[in-house]
Symmetry: C2
Subunit: 436 residues, 2 copies
């Protein structure tokens, strides 16, 4: 089957991330999509600029209208951002019967109603998973995964810049201005950060989430917006002492009188999972009447996380254009004839860190004996906790955390330690994972 | 258009939850699915038993084969559990060209390969979102939302019983046996809990997740399984003191030599979000090469959470059978002609709790003045934090947390308090949400 032919508008952070991931994971992506994906052309303001991605065989142009009208292109990825030009380009692409994937939250929040109507008339798909929550598949969750629920409310940390700034203010005790400067240095905030810190960006995203949750038209202009500029260090401290974190949150809540749509700094009890979402990470908490509370967490921005969402949408489109409807998504994610028989390792081949607890006689040299065995088996120790003996007891518990090692090496070392005369009984072994 | 006709096998916890949610949310579900869903018949061992759901107009039978062969049924929901009978029923349903939705992880882990092959040949859909993570749409996330990624590893708290027991052992300092008894009393553990605490149930789910992540056949028999029976109170305590939690985790990790597939108790650093998933809640952490780490959290079992996933699958099937492929999922989740114009409330109509910070003169009666204003405006105070004055300063900061109240009432009270002679300057107001 012919590959699906894709044209990109924009080769900035998200555009180049999309090219890189599509090329790097080409084999795995076509095993999932059931068809190859070919990037045919890319529109970029400066086609001659050096890029950090491999553009071999891809046609570069400075004119995006060439792509949205090109008869050979099946799907257009709109990754230029901004509102007016992007809107015109997408309408043109739809008029030329192209499917569209966009990461543009401002555009969807402002002109989504018009774009969707045009797409429906033309019989093409418009997908926008990347518009909210970066790589977190939150739009799919709301639109499909929770479709059986009456959504009561949702609340999201949906702007990574603001979450980074508030996290820095708490962790480092710095002022808003210092934290903003730090965010700018690290590339997490724009030179003109007003869209983020003023809450506009979060309001765009909340507008979209609320429509998906409640089945209401997009209405950005009715969203209440407050930014984080006025949060002082002392507010963060007082909140902390009272058992709260301050987060910049978008909230959409159904009440009998109507729907609340608001973006503002919010104190949240520190035991809530969402209160512990730190740095540039995003999370959306959704309360459905059947499912209860569910939370979706991940990187809310960045080159490849956003590309992940763009490509998920692209694969959705490719699957729809490729398979019969009943087999659109393969049962096991990959095409059944393309499953691979990667060997499953036995547990002794597993590699992990360990917690070990043993009872040892309370006498000198015990730790030296134990650590010698570890050394001989090339096992690094992360930490040791040795308890004082309880009065009258002859032996003491010793707890050791190791670094990662093959399980068979660990088992060999355990066997040797259990044979030491100073060790009583069996060693308790529990695996340890840092999940970095 | 004719409604989609559904037959249920089983009317236990999940079956009755599914009936209840389908009836309660019927209007919202058909706004999403684009078509009505009609429960035609239910097979249950004892059709005469009193039920906690409205079965008006639904045909009850003791013979499930009547349903899977009934020519008027479009979709069969298999909710009886167990392996052999369920397998035969599903094969029969497929042979009779019915689409199938199942919540049966044991069945999919053991016979998924065979069932999917049969479904593909017959041109029907088999969906199983409810098999892993209850109401969390984790299967959709892996199969579609993260489809652009090469998955590196995933790790899940995928058995609520075990997570409840380990949480109780930590929070209450009780033994494994006591926590298990407590779980049984609360209905979180079966009378014979061996499937859960022995890790078999988690291994079924891990088998499914690993196939979706890596594109390998289902191979339950190769999963390493360890339960939680041997976790002692002291291990939980030592782990805690070292900055770790012990969780029962299923891990699937890609290494160059092959794939690790293992279920066992695991120490996790307490700063990780997944380490703070407590009680019966489930969570799955997925590491993709493009997106990085994403986490999906929610209730992993129970009547309506599981029903939520069953119905999401059912809506997937209905959408596929109802719309043309390009319009399968509406852009804003609901059919475009069925969006509603629920009013958006203005911010003064919002109802939330508040954090207030003010500067007050350090003199008697100030708090009495403030609390009187709150009382007059029917605002309940949650807590007050009054600082000692810094030496030489005349005024002190007062921090007040209120309970939920309409914003306009709060604003009125703030206005009145700002006019008190003992209060200096403006009051800082930040909203507070408990997200219960």
């Amino acid at each position: 089957m012919e590959p699906i032919k894709v044209g990109l508008l924009g080769l900035g952070t998200v555009g180049s991330g999309t090219v890189n991931v599509l090329l790097r994971n080409a084999e795995e992506i076509s095993r999932r999509a059931g068809r190859n994906i070919q990037i045919c052309s890319i529109a970029t303001r400066n086609p001659k600029k050096q890029r950090q991605c491999d553009l071999t065989g891809i046609n570069l142009t400075a004119d995006p209208y060439k792509i949205v009208t090109d008869p050979q292109i099946d799907v257009v990825l709109e990754l230029i951002g901004g509102i007016d030009t992007a809107y015109q380009l997408i309408l043109q692409a739809i008029a030329h019967k192209k499917h569209v994937v966009t990461a543009n939250k401002a555009l969807i929040a402002h002109y989504g109603n018009e774009i969707f109507t045009a797409a429906q008339k033309a019989g093409v798909m418009v997908a926008f998973e990347a518009a909210v929550g970066g790589g977190i598949p939150i739009i799919k969750a709301l639109r499909e995964g929770l479709a059986g629920n009456r959504i009561e409310w949702l609340a999201g940390i949906i702007n990574g810049t603001n979450n980074f700034i508030l996290t820095e203010m708490r962790d480092k005790g710095c002022s808003f201005t210092q934290a903003l400067e730090d965010a700018q240095k690290k590339g997490y905030a724009e030179l003109d950060p007003s869209f983020d810190i003023g809450g506009i960006d979060a309001a765009h995203k909340l507008t979209i989430l609320a429509s998906l949750a409640f089945g209401i038209p997009l209405q950005f202009q009715k969203t209440y917006i407050e930014g984080i500029e006025k949060i002082a260090q002392e507010d963060i401290n007082y909140a902390y002492r009272l058992g709260y974190r301050i987060k910049h949150i978008g909230i959409a809540r159904r009440r009998s009188a109507g729907i609340e749509l608001r973006v503002h700094p919010t104190l949240i009890p520190d035991r809530r999972l969402i209160a512990n979402v730190d740095g540039v990470m995003n999370a959306v908490l959704v309360k459905g009447d059947a499912v209860g509370s569910t939370l979706y967490y991940g990187p809310g921005a960045g080159s490849e996380p956003t590309a992940s969402a763009v490509i998920a949408d692209l694969i959705d489109v490719v699957r729809t254009l490729t398979s019969d409807p009943e087999n659109r998504v393969p049962h096991l994610a990959f095409q059944p004839n393309l499953l691979v028989n990667t060997p499953i390792l036995s547990i002794i081949e597993a590699k992990t860190a360990y917690y070990l607890r043993m009872q040892a006689l309370d006498r000198p040299g015990v730790l030296a004996d134990i650590t010698r065995v570890f050394g001989e088996n090339n096992i690094s120790i992360e930490s040791i906790l040795q308890q004082e003996p309880i009065s009258g007891e002859q032996d003491v518990p010793i707890i050791i955390l190791t670094q990662r090692v093959l399980e068979q090496n660990m088992d060999k070392a355990i066997c040797q330690i259990e044979q030491l005369s100073s060790i009583k009984g069996k060693i308790k072994k529990i695996r340890l994972e840092a999940f970095r």
